[in-house]
């Protein structure tokens, strides 16, 4: 039984586990959402960044045409702004400055050289185009191997090599396993580099509010409060003189979860000039210069027994983290998180993981939905398939047999994670049943009329969510994201306003947090207003990322509303002249037998007529609460994905015929929203798996910079995903909720690659790299044919 069904006062139809439609929909459907590009401040100028067209070089000079003098600003013009420094606490981490504008050197195509301002964006672009930068070009470090070559030029001059950091995890005796294991399977894999691609690009508006004597920054960001803190530090002003507002944000996915040089540069220049400025990123800027995603390489070795039971795992993860370390995550996050969850849902006792983070002349690597875990899942799940094949068994059986068993929960993994709850094998079994493995295996034995090859792939993962203080401390980041606040305040006419520190950009939190309030107070969801995204409005909070907001802000809203419920019962009982223990809350009213009093009347007493309150009761109805999960180790969501593909060996084209997800995110607050988050995540994961890539050439030039050469999945590419739910409440969180926003994006690259390789088995061909493009499939088929001929 989930905690949600514990007996509580009142009406539960809109509470946890129900699917009321979203409170926030109306403004978006009416075109009244307000995104940063919709904001205009009197006297505002438009800003355009002059960005480096080369990957690596020293700036000798910049020629600004005479007619544009005074409209172009360089690092020296905002010298008071300190560079962004995102250093990990790891002892051998090589630190570097990320200045808001390049000081003497540019380090990737898209690095910012100057800011051009004009009344319109088009005129500002004209100015940028008219400037001529004279570079001393340096050899571009365009690839991991180029970066790590012994004589490679240094990207950051004071470093000893182009390696941000290398970290290791060692559990058990890998050498002993290597010597004794009957089966050894090796695999080399690659994941392509891509961009995050929110449909709304990034943007910043900055202006000075003279009355309040504060700089106001609108930014399309996932964490406005934290941005205020680091902005204050870099600008050298008090947080009391800064207000950061995230208006409606058109998709985040992690890309808007960094402190960007653009935010600092626009804020600093606006402050310096006393002039409102607006910068709206265009799609080309977004693709080449917003924080990138993935680009992993894996060298994996599994040691197994004859039945395919994996005894030990040896993994080297290498990530191309680009030119700068992003704040606050640091460059090492991607590789570190991948190596740190590599054993996934499997009970693999012996593990050695090496995480290497490499600096190159590319846009910095940042968080993107599924951070690190997408790569870890890709690695271990591809490896499990290979182990199964090498012992002659079906990957599904080997997968299930290797999984952590439900009776082992809580389970401590070889990567030092504490899995809290769940039944991983059952989840995999349900997925296999839903995709109908037997029918697919039968179909594979038949000759298809169109010559296409059918393949089945599966992939499972476990995902740490809602982790608290100790876990973030262990990661060594500059900020510890251990808690979340909520201020719950009634209005005198009986509406409830929740002020929260998270930021809602599509997740439905203006509805799901209202559902939590309904659960505690039996107040209709439509009577609850959720305010977020403004550092001057809500208590200080950490924002929305790491699949944390529902659990963390939900816990805080619950705690605040539970206290309000107590007070409402006391006041309501007094107004009804009833004993406190004999009243209950339902439908926005306090009930005693057949009598009742509306919250509105309770609120009138609390705010406008304190003389009606019981003796000793404080006026007002407002509670501030802060929530931390019961344990810092996290609530682990998990899932198994399965997909069926048809691969055309003539064209290399892959079609997804069926896609099933069985997942468990603990107690579901709103199943409609949960399912849609899974489906949306899968769509993005399919982008990673099949379409999205920004290759770089040997000059360090990005080769995809528009939606014509960078493909994101459209309606005809994404299949109808079938979603099955399991609900194992977490013992560590309020209501047993586990985070789930990212999960859908984690497994698709692994599931798709496994399916494609299953389809290519009859040709003895295998793809080892995402995206699995037609070209890569044809190359794999050609090279296996070549091997067959030469053999």
């Amino acid at each position: 039984m989930s905690a949600a069904s514990a007996p509580i006062d009142g009406d539960n139809r809109q509470g946890i586990g129900s699917s009321p439609r979203r409170n926030e929909d109306r403004r978006f459907l009416d075109g009244k959402g307000e995104y940063v590009a919709d904001i205009r401040v009197p006297g505002m100028s438009e800003a355009v960044f002059l960005r480096s067209p080369i990957a690596h070089g020293r700036i000798r000079s910049v020629e600004v045409p005479p007619e544009h003098q005074g409209k172009v600003f360089f690092a020296a013009d905002i010298a008071f702004a300190k560079p962004i420094v995102a250093a990990s606490a790891a002892p051998n981490f090589q630190r570097s400055d990320y200045p808001p504008l390049a000081v003497d050197k540019v380090r990737f195509v898209g690095d910012i050289v100057a800011i051009c301002i004009a009344p319109t964006r088009a005129e500002a672009e004209d100015i940028a185009q008219a400037c001529v930068i004279d570079f001393e070009e340096l050899p571009p470090i365009w690839d991991i191997d180029v970066a790590l070559a012994p004589d490679a030029p240094l990207i950051h001059d004071h470093w000893t090599n182009n390696l941000y950091v290398e970290t290791r995890i060692e559990t058990g005796d890998i050498e002993a396993a290597r010597k004794s294991a009957p089966v050894t399977v090796r695999k080399s894999l690659r994941m392509g580099r891509h961009a995050g691609v929110s449909l709304e690009c990034r943007g910043v508006v900055a202006h000075y509010d003279r009355r309040l004597d504060e700089l106001v920054i609108y930014s399309s960001t996932q964490f406005p409060h934290v941005i205020r803190s680091i902005l204050a530090e870099c600008l050298g002003v008090s947080e009391g003189k800064l207000r950061v507002i995230a208006p409606d944000v058109g998709g985040g996915f992690g890309i808007k979860n960094n402190f960007n040089p653009e935010e600092l540069a626009i804020a600093a220049l606006s402050l310096k000039l006393g002039q409102p400025l607006r910068w709206i990123e265009d799609r080309r800027e977004h693709l080449i210069a917003s924080p990138h995603a993935r680009e992993h390489r894996y060298e994996l070795t599994a040691y197994a027994d004859q039945s395919g039971r994996v005894l030990a795992l040896d993994a080297v993860v290498v990530v191309d983290a680009g030119a700068y370390s992003v704040w606050p995550w640091t460059a090492s996050m991607e590789a570190g998180m991948s190596a740190g969850i590599m054993t996934g849902p499997y009970d693999i006792p012996i593990y050695r993981g090496v995480a290497r983070t490499v600096c190159t002349n590319k846009s910095p690597m940042g968080p993107y939905r599924g951070v690190g875990r997408s790569g870890a899942c890709f690695a271990i799940e591809t490896l499990i398939d290979e182990v199964a094949r090498s012992v002659g068994r079906d990957p599904i059986d080997v997968r299930i047999e290797n999984m952590v068993r439900p009776e082992s929960m809580p389970y401590r993994s070889a990567t030092h994670k504490l899995y809290d709850s769940g039944d991983y094998p059952e989840c995999a079994r349900r997925t296999a049943e839903a995709i109908d493995v037997a029918a697919i295996r039968k179909r594979q034995t038949e000759v298809s009329p169109d010559g296409r090859l059918i393949g089945l792939g599966m992939a499972s993962y476990t995902e740490q969510t809602a982790h608290g203080t100790a876990e973030w401390v262990a990661r060594g980041l500059p900020v510890v994201f251990g808690y979340e606040p909520a201020l719950a305040r009634f209005t005198p006419d009986g509406k409830l306003v929740l002020f929260v520190g998270i930021q809602n950009h599509g997740q439905g939190l203006e509805t799901t947090l209202a559902q939590v309030a309904n659960q505690e107070l039996a107040i209709p969801v439509a009577d609850v207003i959720v305010r977020h995204g403004d550092s001057s409005v809500s208590p200080y909070g950490m924002g929305t990322f790491a699949s944390r907001s529902m659990t963390m802000a939900g816990g805080a809203v619950s705690a605040a509303c539970a206290q309000l419920a107590e007070k409402i019962r006391r006041i309501g009982a007094h107004l009804l002249q009833a004993p406190r223990d004999e009243v209950h809350l339902a439908d926005g009213r306090v009930h005693f037998g057949t009598q009742s009093v509306a919250f509105k009347d309770v609120c009138q007493a609390a705010f406008l007529h304190p003389e009606r309150l019981p003796e000793g009761e404080d006026p007002a109805l407002e509670v501030n609460a802060v929530y931390q999960p019961g344990r810092s180790t996290g609530a682990f969501s998990y899932a198994t994905h399965a997909c069926v593909v048809a691969v055309d060996p003539g064209t290399g084209h892959t079609e997804i015929l069926d896609y099933v997800v069985c997942h468990d995110c603990g107690t579901m607050v709103n199943p409609m929203i949960v399912e849609a988050q899974v489906v949306g995540g899968v769509a993005q994961g399919l982008g990673t798996a099949l379409y999205e890539e920004i290759p770089y050439d040997e000059n360090g030039q990005p080769l995809a910079s528009t939606f014509l050469d960078y493909m994101i999945p459209g309606a005809t590419e994404v299949p109808d995903v079938r979603v099955l739910h399991m609900e194992t409440p977490s013992p560590h969180t309020r209501f047993g909720i586990k985070g789930m926003g990212e999960g859908g994006a984690i497994a698709p690259p692994a599931a798709v690659l496994n399916a494609v390789n299953d389809a290519l088995r009859s040709l003895n061909a295998a793809v080892t790299e995402t995206p699995v493009t037609p070209e890569r499939i044809l190359d794999a088929i050609a090279s296996s044919a070549g091997q067959r001929v030469s053999a």
């Binding site: 590009a37 449909l199 998709g251 997740q507 939606f707 014509l708 459209g714 109808d720 995903v721």
Partner: protein
């Protein structure tokens, strides 16, 4: 050098001087402050800026305002009182056809046009017809459901757009 154009936007007669290079999207958003029309790529791929031009859906980001002298433009704001659009919006609400809301205005314009032309479109037909509108949040499933539901309701009510 600016050029004077006259056109109808959401039923209102508009006369303005525009730079020849100003796109229809910038004209709507910056000149007329009709900000429901969103810009996701500014090169005619993502469909967020889709508006009706003389009764047909068009990309406002790659149409030049100066070329639309005499045209009739309708944006999402202009469908506020439209009965069919009301049904479509309600279907998007009921079937969870939106998340962050950024692609939504373009989706609504394309969806209404699709329902007007092909009220009987099946899943595959809807996906093909909507393939010029990108959404990064929903994975399209909720959008397809919404359009199907709206088409069904409009057809049973005899209220084709």
């Amino acid at each position: 050098m600016k050029v004077t154009i006259s056109l109808t936007v959401n039923g209102a007669q508009i006369r303005r001087d525009v730079e020849p290079r100003t796109s229809l999207a910038d004209f709507l958003r910056e000149e007329l402050r009709l900000t429901a029309t969103h810009l996701g790529c500014e090169h005619g791929v993502c469909g967020a800026c889709t508006v009706m031009v003389d009764g047909a859906p068009a990309r406002a980001c790659i149409a030049l305002a100066v070329s639309l002298d005499g045209a009739e433009i309708r944006t999402v704001e202009g469908f506020a009182e439209d009965a069919a659009m009301g049904v479509i919006k309600e279907a998007f609400h009921q079937e969870h056809g939106l998340q962050c809301g950024f692609c939504t205005p373009g989706m609504l314009i394309s969806a209404r046009d699709l329902i007007a032309r092909h009220p009987e479109a099946d899943d595959v037909g809807i996906r093909r017809a909507m393939s010029g509108n990108l959404c990064r949040c929903t994975g399209y499933q909720g959008i397809v459901r919404s359009i199907k539901s709206a088409a069904r309701q409009l057809s049973s009510q005899g209220k084709q757009p």
